[in-house]
Symmetry: C2
Subunit: 216 residues, 2 copies
């Protein structure tokens, strides 16, 4: 799809990429930076649905259906690569496997959603936080963002709270407990995991088979 690039987009921290309820006929790839996809209630309560890291595709979920049902916001400075949705669709007409690629990506992201829903619905606060940190550390590392085991971690405690359905005050206390137990180091925007095995145990998490694409 490289040739079909519509343009590149730079968004500053805290700025919206896609506004909730607005139509946007583009698809994006995150080239650099962190972003969040979220949805809010009329009174302001917010749920973060997804954390977007470099390499992630944006615009498949709701945007295939007209107006976005969620907002997307930059956490750090974000660089995006934009495509027009219709050229993308034309492309999919020409190349059948592209549609399947898309379906596979949706399946992958749905699996993440399932895990998050399990966390938010059934895990305790400490389990949720441990889970999120393990998950993000792994994703960031596999996106090539790790430097000797630590990753840049731009999410604030309010972000974590909104991602996990908890209050910021409680997030703060849980993080401190995890630090006290030596399970994580999290300071100055960097995260290191002290004891991955133990942190996984805290998260009531066990390794899932790596996603492999069995198709084709």
């Amino acid at each position: 799809m490289e040739g079909r690039k519509l343009g590149q987009l730079r968004v500053e921290p805290g700025q919206p990429i896609v506004a909730e309820g607005l139509q946007d006929d583009r698809l994006y790839t995150v080239l650099e930076g962190w972003a969040i996809r979220s949805k809010s209630l009329p009174d302001g309560r917010r749920q973060i649905l997804n954390v977007l890291l470099p390499g992630d595709l944006l615009g498949l979920q709701g945007e295939l259906m007209g107006a976005a049902q969620h907002g997307v916001e930059a956490v750090t400075r974000v660089n995006l690569c934009a495509f027009r949705r219709d050229t993308f669709l034309a492309l999919a007409q020409a190349d059948p496997s592209l549609g399947l690629d898309i379906a596979w990506l949706s399946a992958l992201s749905e699996r993440f959603s399932d895990d998050i829903l399990l966390s938010v619905g059934r895990r305790t606060a400490m389990e949720r936080v441990a889970m999120l940190l393990v998950h993000l550390h792994r994703r960031a590392a596999s996106a090539g963002l790790a430097e000797n085991g630590t990753i840049a971690f731009p999410l604030t405690q309010p972000h974590i709270a909104d991602a996990l359905g908890l209050s910021t005050v409680h997030i703060n206390r849980v993080l401190q407990a995890l630090r006290r137990q030596g399970l994580i180091r999290l300071a100055e925007g960097r995260l290191a995991i002290g004891d991955l095995r133990a942190l996984r145990r805290v998260a009531a998490y066990w390794e899932q088979p790596a996603p492999q694409r069995p198709l084709l």
Copy 2:
């Protein structure tokens, strides 16, 4: 795809359709009955990810990626139509628009997931229950299951609890409150909504634009 049908499958209430962690190389369509897709923690806590109604497709999410990361279980007696995944893939090779159809379906189901995550993460118990009932009533009605405003409602209170991340005891009290306020009638496996407007207000929900397929 009609010609590619592999066979029909009947599953009794409470029986598994897909076991958690098992490989299954089929795709299914629900012809009749209710089923749930769920995921569990090692200690038994369970989260229902999804309620499947007639017309729903099953097997797109995790199954595209090898072993299922979740279980699927019949709630009522369920009739399924089974396809082999590989013939499906071959078909998608031949007809590009099928891949896009699949992508669109994934997008739709992801939008449902987003709503559920918002509920579980940020709504109160009463809001969650109201939301779920409105949502299921609408889906069941649009699947043609409504009879003068009421639908068969086979989910038990433990089911609702596991879908919303609450305890069964609490679900019971919330349901009674909703009944007392005349917002719902729920008895003997049938659900009627007394005052949809009010129930939506309780759910902190406002109408979303109906999903339309803008593709092609």
